[in-house]
């Protein structure tokens, strides 16, 4: 009968196997990409109005709570009603192109539609007020908003990431009066964190319970 295969045939087989492997990897990557969040980490999100936190917070030094008024009292930090914008912008920059949507919205009473930047699955019940009360700084989750000309997601917001803090809050907590401070840095986080966990009665035993976030 003689040879069935050419000497180089073995090479072809190996190449085919390699190809299969590569395509599998690519498939996995495609799947990963297709199930990712609408916006990646550190990727600015287009908004109907080019609102700049950098300008309002960084330059003008407006406090977070001026607009996100319910952040200390309820689960939802709150997005400001148009009336809040109008407290200044009924006088300032009223005729700039950038602000036109705001002015129009106000004039015609048609709500603006902002693109959501920090978006959690609906089976996750996140509560802003308790995090603020226990000394979790805005920066810890939202990054240096005061340096964002357009807002983006600064952290992955994955369960893994949440657990990092829920398991070791002492590494992240800060004094309550520093929660809204963008620039604050702890001198000795290790010592401070431990003290804060005690002072704010953070029950670390139940922080990684499923029921804390899922209902």
């Amino acid at each position: 009968m003689g040879q069935v295969f050419h000497p180089r045939f073995g090479l072809y087989v190996q190449l085919v196997l390699l190809a299969v492997l590569v395509s599998l990897v690519c498939g996995a990557l495609v799947w990963r990409a297709s199930t990712a969040e609408p916006h990646g980490v550190d990727e600015p999100v287009e908004q109907p109005v080019p609102f700049s936190h950098k300008h309002h917070v960084g330059d003008d030094g407006i406090d977070c709570r001026y607009c996100h008024s319910s952040v200390e009292t309820s689960a939802f930090a709150g997005i400001p009603p148009l009336s809040t914008c109008m407290t200044c912008h009924s006088q300032l920059y009223t005729d700039t192109a950038a602000l036109k949507p705001v002015v129009d919205s106000w004039r015609h009473g048609v709500a603006l539609h902002w693109q959501r930047v920090h978006q959690l699955p609906d089976f996750v019940y996140f509560n802003h007020s308790i995090h603020v009360a226990k000394g979790v700084g805005c920066v810890t989750c939202h990054g240096r908003v005061d340096r964002m000309p357009l807002t983006w997601r600064a952290r992955p917001l994955s369960m893994q990431w949440c657990l990092d803090c829920h398991r070791a809050p002492q590494q992240y907590l800060r004094p309550r009066n520093k929660v809204f401070d963008m620039a604050w840095q702890a001198k000795d986080q290790a010592a401070l964190g431990m003290a804060l966990v005690k002072r704010y009665h953070v029950d670390t035993r139940r922080l990684s319970d499923c029921s804390v976030c899922h209902r």
Binding site: G2, P7, F9, C210
Partner: protein, 176 residues
């Protein structure tokens, strides 16, 4: 005849016994590059061709240990260190409950190690091999018993004659 583009010299024998006998004789005659082919595993044939020692059992043992201990370690890490959760009031390290998975993985890894070891040891897959150049060799998987003296054997020059002396059914040269 010099072994330039020659793989070796192949003789066919009529039975497993004669093949083994021939192999032993050639060994005594000082041939070292010998290969024997048979349609089934012939007892003592490999030994007749020269000293053999298999590392396969050790490999399987290591595979098994890796699978078992690895799984236990993974279970301990995930259930006790990484994310301990109260399940039915059971302790985090529920050793008895960790055993079954570990057992299965022990066997699985051992088997994988064994199969991979066998294939590597035998240099398989090796789709092309010079011996296939000999038409008759097709019988090797049916009822043919073949003995090959490879061309790189020091005494290869008188290999053909040596084979003929063993009264084989046939003798062919195996082109490389």
């Amino acid at each position: 005849m010099n072994g330039v583009n020659v793989y070796g010299c192949m003789a066919r024998f009529d039975s497993a016994e004669s093949l083994r006998g021939a192999a032993l004789q050639l060994r005594h005659a000082g041939y070292v590059r010998l290969e024997a082919y048979s349609p089934f595993a012939v007892e003592g044939l490999a030994e007749a061709l020269g000293p053999t020692r298999s590392r396969l059992p050790l490999l399987v043992l290591l595979g098994g240990l890796f699978g078992g201990i690895g799984t236990l370690a993974l279970q301990y890490y995930s259930a006790v260190i990484d994310y301990p959760i109260d399940v039915g009031g059971r302790p985090a390290a529920s050793w008895p409950a960790f055993i079954p998975a570990a057992l299965e993985m022990t066997i699985l890894c051992a088997v994988l190690a064994g199969v991979v070891g066998m294939l590597l040891g035998n240099g398989l897959p090796q789709l092309y091999h010079p011996v296939f150049n000999v038409a008759r060799f097709a019988q090797a998987s049916r009822d043919g018993f073949f003995l090959v003296i490879r061309a790189d054997d020091p005494h290869y020059n008188d290999a053909r004659q040596a084979l003929l002396d063993l009264a084989p059914l046939s003798v062919d040269e195996v082109p490389a």
